[in-house]
Amino acid sequence: MADSRHLSLIHAEIDGELDGQQRGELARSVLADPELRVLREDFQRLCAALEKLEDVEPPPELRESILGALPQSTAGPAWSWWSRPRLRYAAVIVALLTGAVVYEVVRGPEPPTTEVAGTMAPADTRTTLDTVRLDNGVVSGRVSLYRDRRGLGLRFEVSAGTPVDVLIASDGHTLRINGVGSQDKPAQGKPGVLAVALPGFRMGGQTVDLTFLMAGRQVGSATLRTVADR
């Protein structure tokens, strides 16, 4: 009967794990013990037969069935969207734009210079670059393109029977503002004011194009120029 030491050597030999010394020990033991030799041959035959079993080709449709069963989201697994650099950067930009819009809406219009006392610097460093008047029956009022220390921005002073969405486009940048005109102040009889910063929009003589949409349909447009001294 083989002891556990010799059994381990036999298995280790089959797995190619013996060093020279162990190989010599096993060879001597096998020569001295016919039962151990038979056992070793049995395991060698067994493992040789196992190795001879050939792999089976998977069903031809397996790959398609796997791929067809994957979640169909173009973003891949739920965790993956954030790991995609482009989406991550886009998310950051959207967050920044949203933050800028919310900040401007909450802050409201700049106070008149005369209301700011005790400061040496000009209270309002905004420079209006261009203004267009709107009166197309759907949207009325005016939109100004301004520049301040943070960059370009738009100031909406518009009234609309139904709030409109505005697509802002310039030099490859786009921004959509929803619900313009919804900040009307009927009691005061004048339009509400919405200031929107345009981070990433650059000066350079290009135009800023506005498209007013109502229920997805274009109801007006306007173009402002970034050059102040036309």
Partner: protein, 179 residues
């Protein structure tokens, strides 16, 4: 080299590249299917397990630790899914020598296909955890270390199971007179 390739594909998958995952499927569908087939001895069940394995890999790719080999990870999923499928079947009692249909003389030697069938049958007569180490070692050609990673077991335990599994297979095949 292969691990590097896998790592690149996994990284691309994590960035949402479905084509990279398709390459992993192409690369590993055969070993995963065969592992399941050897463990389950049923092509339909093996197909289902292979599909589930890749779907789980896709869903949990974010949990994969790239410091480990990808194939160790996906084989682990395949083994676990196969064992789950086995668990859903009627539990097997393990090898019992009386179950042999016939006990031919010791000099009867089966060759080729017959030997293959005898081994497959013998595999189904040993416990799943022992069958698993045979599959990983002799069909997937994993080292002791890789087997330990797949099974989350120390190498010593892996060896012990492997030796026991071979012993039981030998005993069964001796009863059948096939070795």
């Amino acid at each position: 080299m292969k691990e590097d390739d896998d790592a690149t594909l996994v990284r691309r998958c994590r960035e949402g590249d479905r084509a990279a995952f398709e390459q992993l499927v192409v690369r590993y569908q055969k070993p995963v299917f065969n592992a399941a087939l050897r463990l389950l001895h049923d092509p339909e069940d093996a197909r289902d397990v292979a599909q589930t394995t890749f779907l789980k890999a896709f869903e949990h790719l974010g949990d994969y630790d790239p410091s480990f080999k990808f194939y160790s990870w996906i084989y682990r999923i395949a083994v676990n899914e196969s064992l789950n499928a086995l668990g859903a079947r009627k539990p097997h009692e393990g090898f019992d020598g009386d179950e042999a249909d016939e006990a031919p003389g010791p000099d009867r030697q089966l060759e080729g296909e017959q030997m293959g069938r005898a081994i497959e049958e013998a595999l189904m007569h040993i416990k799943p955890e022992l069958r698993t180490v045979i599959v990983l070692r002799h069909f997937m050609h994993l080292s002791y270390q890789d087997m330990g990673q797949v099974l989350l077991l120390p190498e010593k335990t892996v060896k012990s199971r492997l030796y026991s599994a071979r012993q039981l297979l030998r005993d069964h095949l001796l009863q059948l007179g096939t070795i």
